[in-house]
């Protein structure tokens, strides 16, 4: 905010010069340039973000199977259909369970890795790269490895081979919801893929903690290790932790790839986006119900984000800039 005002003050000189020549005046005018720079992006934003959202809201009030130009207005019927759809409601439960596992697990693993790597004196860059490397792998490729090699339900999968050494029978990791072993598969895929990314954020934050704090703590008799971690490191990482948790939640909400590929024919463990995909692009091609589902989900995400922002103060730093 402050930038725009100070810039405004600095501007009068060029503006006066441009009065003489009108053509150059247009090219030099900041309003023209503002739209020149932001115009293409804003037009695209309107066409590919706002129009779809608007269209979605419009379609959600119509009977729209196999067509995108519906004629029959049905009011809130699509919404009642979606909100009473057992599969859709289950998908929200699935998301909640998934988030309850993956958010704390990724937080802990990425922070743990950051602490480890940050303490290393040699080969720090090497280990950082190793933990970071899975970021390059797609969810599809990772699901493939997990499903076909690590957690294959038969003898030759690595997990079953390892438990076989201890005399435990094969486990069909993905084939049944009871016991829900599929959660182990789904959570570890994502943990492997995303921990390295968040580790980088934590390493950056750890390096920004002033050394003096640790020195002062040791003068005060705090033992290095758990005490300094609990009373210095953790509080100093608060802002980064908040941001990481928010990012993890949003990412978990959008989970699609690994569920779609690991549980393609399952009726259990389907997150919201997979349900939406089935609803709108599956056999029935029900764009109306799919759109209503998208509207409901978007509103849910907005509410969650706003609530979290309120409780944890995300975005406040932004305002003060």
């Amino acid at each position: 905010m402050s930038t725009t005002t100070t810039r405004g003050v600095a501007q009068p000189a060029p503006a006066k010069v441009s009065k003489g020549r009108p053509r150059r005046g247009l090219l030099a005018s900041s309003t023209f340039n503002f739209w020149l720079f932001t115009g293409p992006f804003l037009i695209g934003l309107v066409i590919f973000v706002f129009v779809p959202i608007g269209w979605s809201i419009y379609l959600s009030f119509f009977e729209a199977r196999f067509t995108v130009t519906p004629s029959q207005f049905i009011g809130f019927e699509n919404y009642t259909q979606v909100l009473t759809d057992v599969d859709f409601l289950n998908s929200l439960v699935t998301f909640t369970v998934f988030a309850a596992f993956i958010v704390p697990a990724t937080w802990a693993v990425s922070l743990g890795l950051a602490l480890l790597v940050n303490r290393l004196r040699f080969m720090r860059a090497f280990f950082r790269s190793v933990f970071f490397l899975p970021t390059a792998v797609s969810y599809v490729a990772a699901s493939l490895i997990w499903k076909m090699s690590l957690f294959n339900g038969v003898r030759f999968g690595l997990a079953n081979t390892v438990i076989g050494w201890f005399g435990i029978d094969n486990i069909a990791w993905l084939a049944s919801p009871d016991p829900p072993w599929y959660w182990l598969v789904i959570v570890t895929v994502r943990l492997w893929l995303q921990s390295g990314f968040y580790m980088i954020l934590f390493i950056a934050a750890l390096q920004n903690i002033p050394r003096e704090l640790y020195e002062a703590a040791s003068l005060d008799g705090a033992k290095p290790g758990w005490q300094t971690f609990r009373y210095i490191t953790l509080p100093q990482l608060r802002a980064t932790s908040t941001a990481v948790i928010l990012l993890l939640l949003v990412a978990a909400y959008q989970a699609f790839d690994e569920f779609f590929n690991l549980l393609p024919k399952a009726t259990w463990g389907q997150p919201p986006l997979v349900e939406l995909y089935k609803m709108a692009l599956g056999e029935n091609q029900n764009y109306g119900a799919g759109s209503a589902g998208a509207v409901v989900l978007t509103m849910l995400i907005c509410v969650v984000t706003l609530l979290q922002g309120k409780f944890m103060g995300f975005g406040r730093g932004e305002e003060s800039k």
């Binding site: 934003l45 590919f48 979605s56 480890l116 640790y214």
Partner: protein
């Protein structure tokens, strides 16, 4: 970042003292074990892609192939059920154009929002901010409806263009340009350059590090994206490599060594990007505006 620089002198004593808690060797053992776990899936891809199917699915687990099957490398390209070469090419085109387009469109907008005085700039910025609240993944249904009404299904246009208008990337560029030294631009303006000229001749050349960071992240996201290419690629000729890989998983006949070789090939380009551009990648992630 700047905080760490003056501290380096004091770092060593603190480091060794803290290292002593766990014992340096204990620390390295813990890190090493974690590293092996993180590398294991990569190893499995390589192992499986160079084995025969009977060896992969055999009763006795083997860490190493008895006879390395180098011939497997060409198999995905000879496979008739999935046109793997075409899907790789589609991914290259999509990822490259996606990255170029996003850098162009979002950096210009970010600069405009950050640096060009305009009385309604803040309102425009809030419009961009509201799109951050709506994840693009949720709008795939209406986006598909829109794009298919343009007739863009199964086309590069459909794969690339809708993804170019990323509110988040624009936001990152705006944050970056807010911190860009004004003196450089002012010097350029004094020399008679307009906003456009100053941007291309002074601002961009002095921001290549940031552009490289964003490019790396965008390229990885473009290469790895799955949901949108799955929606748009109705015909196999428009599949990206991720959609092709996914189709292997649902095929009736499972051809293990072929699937893993295809996976290995699909990861390779990114590993190159990753290893060469890692510096910018790390810098970009650390800078993504979510610093504490």
């Amino acid at each position: 970042m700047t905080v760490t620089a003056p501290e380096t002198g004091k770092k060593k004593p603190t480091g060794s003292r803290r290292g002593g808690v766990m014992g340096s060797s204990g620390l390295y053992i813990a890190t090493g074990v974690a590293a092996l776990l993180f590398l294991l899936p990569f190893y499995l891809i390589v192992r499986n892609s160079l084995m025969t199917d009977p060896e992969i699915t055999g009763e006795n687990w083997k860490w190493f192939p008895t006879d390395i099957q180098w011939g497997n490398i060409t198999e995905p390209f000879n496979d008739v059920t999935v046109d793997f070469a075409q899907s790789m090419w589609n991914s290259v085109v999509v990822a490259v154009l996606h990255t170029t387009g996003i850098l162009l469109v979002c950096s210009l907008a970010g600069y405009g929002l950050a640096r060009i005085p305009y009385k309604h700039a803040n309102k425009v910025f809030y419009v961009v901010l509201t799109t951050l609240m709506v994840p693009t993944a949720v709008t795939f249904v209406p986006s598909f409806v829109l794009v298919s009404s343009f007739g863009w299904v199964d086309s590069y246009r459909g794969l690339i263009i809708p993804g170019l208008f990323s509110g988040f990337t624009c936001f990152l560029f705006r944050q970056y340009f807010l911190g860009f030294p004004k003196e450089l631009e002012e010097a350029a303006r004094v020399d008679g350059l307009g906003y456009w000229g100053a941007y291309w001749r002074v601002v961009v050349p002095n921001s290549l590090n940031f552009f490289a960071a964003i490019a790396t992240i965008t390229f990885i996201n473009g290469w790895n994206s799955f949901l949108w290419p799955l929606v748009i690629g109705q015909d196999p000729s428009a599949w990206t490599v991720q959609v092709a890989l996914s189709s292997y998983m649902t095929n009736q006949t499972v051809n293990y060594h072929l699937i893993f070789m295809a996976t290995a090939i699909s990861i390779l380009p990114l590993l190159f990007v990753f290893l060469f551009l890692q510096r910018w990648l790390v810098q970009g992630i650390a800078q993504t505006g979510i610093k504490g």
